[in-house]
Subunit: 319 residues, 6 copies
């Protein structure tokens, strides 16, 4: 049994592999028995399937989670459907390739978390290490799959880790050029700057944002990040200057009132954080736009950039 | 011994009464003994005096506090000076008229605090009552004399209480016209909306703001108010909706990003709070400007209003 | 014969009651006789009817007016139609409930006009009383049903009276808190501030705005209000300061050039008028938005507020 | 007796000629007799003089008016002073050269008024002719010397006529290129567009603006122009379209809300009026700036242009 | 054979005349022979036709060019089609009326070019004459049909010439009123100010803009105009002041940074160029809008003006 | 003879060393002989000196250049003066420490130029290498000492090299994180982006900007950079895509119209260039501001940042 993508499936094919649960709903069949109606997908398409005779005590798989599934492709009312023979939720040791199922960060989340952990461990400031660790603790497991945004940039599974670790690398580069910047403060700011997004939006495990939370809309991730930081301060017993500096970095990292920061960055590490954030978001948005545009052509107007993007002929050297 | 104001003092007069300490400094005389150099003032002027043979264990009176003082006016190097015979710090029961010493709110602070206390006591929502009381507790004694601003509006002793209690009265008026507004929520918002200013600025007991604090400049009173509110929530055990609603009211009460609120008011009580705040600040600013302008004339450009103010001939009915 | 709403009507039912004329058109039947085609409505729906054998000298009922009508419900080409047996225009003494026919202000127009009349009668300034009365005279009967706007706020029958009388009540509240404001001037400003809208828009008697007039588009209600005020001044013989003050209040009540006021408010009563107007418009808009949104949810983006509105769980006290 | 300018005067010279009254004040000498203290000027300088033994029933000459004066130059306390032998107010037939006394429009006011009169007389539209004539009547004699602005452009005696007649010539040029524009409407708009300035500012007969009036500050010349136009309409009995068109042209001639026009120009003649006004103001401002700047150099920043102005080497052809 | 417009054509009619090629494509018929599929049009409509047995060495007519064609109208699948009997490309001496085929400037291109040539010939400055001539040379033949814009104003065949020559006439009018302006510099600026558009957009010979070029999007016509001017300077050997002045006029003619000019006009001729350009564009846009709007009515909102346009009753004099 | 700084000099000391010429002027003494009046300075102060018996054929030393000088300190009219015994212009091999004389970049100009040369040599694109080299050639020797700005950032001798080489290092860091960026294009953009400043401003050899040039004011360094690039293209024979890409990078590197770029960056390398430029300018400005501010304090408002800057207690870890 080969590895097919969803768009390759045809009637009577047999399929075995990992798919993503888009929607899952328990229903009753004509005899009153429970069954589950699933829409399963990979990055190439979506297929419906029913799991009959559902044990009503069992929990329906969460949308955004992956399942391992085996079955046969059938046709029903002119549309393909998967008749399920066997299925189970994905387990930690399964060799599932999330990249094939949804847009994902280019690196594995555990690798990226390890980078962050190593960075924090290297801090010379105990206060900043404790605060950053507490913030990461409070962010919890969702950090694994959270995207950095619903649409603007790094809108992908583990996009928040992707954004954060790329920013860490840019920051390390800057620290070479501007060695007078305080390394621990800048890197701590990078790591915590967007953690408030986990309470601002709701994302399934596939990194798909479904909506904004009450607190996301009434307060936003900058302010929720600050109240979380205060909680981290209480928990770790760190108070005073380091907390105030990080509070300000959270508050000012959008740079201007117009973009949600009531204070502009007022010391160099806050300023650097703002530009690194902008730079990484812009590079990601530009790259995404350019990848969809042929060489020598202009994209449609990109909403978040307020402009069209040109894909240059980089190799036009010979002319 | 009559009651003189400072500007009425002349050589050889005797003075007994209350004066405000502008500056106070311990120095050493030519024999190495401690003495204290004071500049004392009321609203009409300032006079220097020395208190010789200072007991070095005694604390120098705080600038911004009032003292009761008796002495004789002398002339030294062509300037008047008060030779002190007796003095002491003002005590609670002293009949000192602060209004004569510095610009003050028109009502006594204890009266205004009593108004606020009564309002809070009337809340039907226990959650909002607890949160508001905790916030008032945390604000502490400084609320007594804190001004509402350094210069813009209600820049006077107890100006913060003045601003708050006038807003409460405007809010009560609105609740008559829009009875569907949630009374407790709106009044709680009014009471706590500017308490963060106590950590934003430094004021002496005369209501004179000397400068902004680190947190005032890096974060501002909106955000510090929110972290204080979270502390109040932890202390009272109130969580969830009421806290989120008050957090939003604190965050949005300046109305627009441009004026420091990253979120606009998103429910009616937040919206009402914003306008009541604007209204009261503007009425106070306009009144102050108009009081300085003769009838039929225009003021200089008022910085915070970005315009000149006209003092109408209100009685021009007869023409 | 019971009281049915339009959406309750079914074939063969008999109907007697008041309905609103949406459209009315005289036509000729196949024999060349005049008949009138009407679309009649209440707030629940619309039904077509024909009045045959129309006396061609009679005037067709105005769209936006109410009629008393009796007839039987029939079906024609699959749609319900009312076969009219008897009808007449509504008369002053008819107990018609306009609230059932179209969105209306919560109070009766005559009550609200009486409030305004009483307010004007209480003015101590004869000049302001004369000017205000002349302006109300010039506004004429249309004030009865005019809405305050086509869509933004108080878009309802008698909405202009609703807006004006609520503003009067808010103003009375403010006068308690800021007793130094000139009562007559502020209240006169409230009463006349939007009367120019009657020449800016066209509204039928149901309070439905069909379009803007030439003068509405070329000049707007602020400027037309000012030229009307000058006419009122000529008519009453009042000149000088009171006229100039009211002219300025009309001109500045939108607060900023961006919103149509070439001058910002330059004295306290003009400033207060601006904020009362804003406040009342905002409260009405917020209330309307919140009424359509379930508790704990956010509305769609409200165009005139440039934001979404949240409907709080006001009773979440117990959690 | 030669013709001297004020800066050429020296002790013991005799002077006879016309001078401008800057200030004039009646005082009492040591014996209690009235005398008048005058500061007289031409464009080159100012000299003080006293007229002794003043007949107290006589009126002191107005500041801004010209006088014919004869006297001898004396020195008093080190400053030159004119001892007056004879003087009188200037009369219509006097050959006084205002250009020598103050900055003046390059043409004589009567010539410019004649141009305007001829233009109005040529209108084919009786309505526009009547309205324009009535507006000119209401402007009265002050039009003779009124400047177009206090500082910005055409800040000179008869500057309003200068600005208006130059605009008429530009308009005539445009009518050649865009013959479909309505000539009468455009020219009527040009003539009346700034007449409201006569009630906005106070100017002496020398074209020197001393301050803004109450109405100028509370309403501005656009709105006062519109109420005057309505008065002209009542007086002439012209109503309807022509009045509405001119009202709109007055209201919109500053082009944008930000510059005082709550409505942008909405028909071609209004649009053309706006640009002709801009163009003429800008050409005058640029010319004035360039005249003060040597070839090849940049001026200081010109306030009203928000930029520096360059004086080109126009003759640099040969290089 | 009469002269029909395309919308008058009916089955079996014969047609002979000039039509515009909208699209032209070489295809193969069922036997493998080449034929050409054409869509031909005049201003009234479009008709398809096929030219069979195409000589494959011959070039397909360019879209936007005109052809002389003779044939018979047939019906195919319910749509009219022209069966071609004879055709050829239009030749210089053909009496083709482009105005009937597409929107065109009101004057012939050769006439307008002659106006420009005569203007340049009249320059007293040899430097400006040489530079202007070189720029016109570089613009080449496309100037004949280029429009001034894709949509905003003068979007018509030869619209660029139309815009330029109307501006020249306005400029000549201004030179009468402001004779101190340097005539050659102003007129040279007018002539070259938009020539860069020829490299900014792609237009067919009918004046129809299909898209923007790479350089148009990356740089715009202001900057490309400046680099062309530098090339013209190198070619003519003119350097220094005249080149710098024209460079600045090109750069600043949009007036403000917001509209694409990084520098505002800094000398009078640059300022005048900017206003003449605005004025002519606005008059054209207003005229176009008004022509589509009945008297006494308002247009839809005009995108480039950000407002509606009113068509006045200019003849309302009689009322 | 020790090495003294200027502020250490006292009467009768002997001085030998390098000083900077601030001003130099040839004058005549009482006998009609030429002498030169010099003001010489290092970073600590300034001293006047005269060189008598000047050979009138010799050239006066340029302001901003350094001289080697020996002499004795004298006092004349209460001010110190250096009586010169021997002097000469500085020669290439002199061990002059410019850093001691004026604010200088932290590295030697030749080192920084070598960095740039090595970078260009490493380009794989011949076209970009040629264009960049030609641009550097055209910039000439002034690059050695040119500052990056008159005041804003890197306002120091060789500041332009300092800014450029720091940006190169930041760019190399980014290329690690975003390896899909075109290295040659980005680095070429960095190297040439500000070369136009050499024609925009006038700087003496000490890196002190005296004023802006005609072209600097009329066109700015972005546009002059583009015309120079076109000249470089002609000279090297490179045309097409690489030139257009660099033109766009020059034009867009200020990011927004408001800051002088009529086009925003439209491909990733242009975008990256803009942010690297911002980042480096900001880091330099922030560092400069923070260096002048004690720990725990706020600076005055920094003009170019529109905010105050805070100097954190970075070491506050222990509290």
């Amino acid at each position: 049994m080969e590895n097919y993508t969803v768009c390759q499936l045809q009637k009577d094919m047999r399929f075995e592999g990992f798919l993503l649960v888009r929607t899952a709903e328990k229903r009753k069949d004509s005899k009153g028995n429970d069954y589950v109606d699933l829409n399963l997908a990979d990055r190439t398409g979506e297929i419906n399937c029913k799991i009959w005779s559902w044990d009503s005590r069992e929990q329906v798989p969460a949308s955004g989670s992956a399942v391992k599934i085996r079955g046969t492709v059938q046709e029903y009312n002119g549309r393909l459907q998967l008749r399920v023979e066997k299925w189970r939720a994905v387990q930690a040791e399964d060799p599932v390739d999330m990249q094939a199922l949804v847009p994902c960060a280019p690196r594995k989340p555990e690798e990226m978390r390890e980078d962050i952990r190593r960075t924090v461990a290297s801090f010379r400031s105990e206060a900043l290490r404790k605060l950053t660790e507490a913030m990461l603790d409070m962010a919890g497991e969702e950090l694994e799959w959270f995207p950095a945004a619903q649409r603007m940039h790094h809108a992908e599974r583990s996009g928040l880790l992707h954004h954060t670790t790329d920013m860490l690398r840019v920051a390390e580069g800057l620290l070479q050029v501007y060695p007078w910047l305080n390394r621990d403060l800048l890197l701590a700011g990078v790591i915590i700057h967007d953690l408030g997004k986990i309470e601002e939006m709701r994302s399934d495990q596939a990194g798909n944002v479904t909506d904004y939370t009450r607190d996301g809309q009434l307060l936003g991730h900058l302010v929720r990040g600050i109240t979380n930081l205060n909680r981290a301060a209480d928990r770790t017993g760190v108070h005073g200057e380091p907390v105030a500096l990080l509070e300000h970095m959270l508050l000012s990292h959008h740079g201007e009132a117009e973009f949600g920061s009531p204070r502009p960055p007022m010391f160099p590490e806050a300023e650097a954080l703002h530009w690194i954030d902008m730079m990484d978001a812009r590079m990601n948005t530009m790259k995404t736009a350019m990848d969809k545009t042929p060489e020598g052509a202009f994209s449609e107007k990109i909403y978040s950039l307020e402009r069209r993007v040109y894909h240059p002929f980089y190799t036009e050297d010979a002319e």
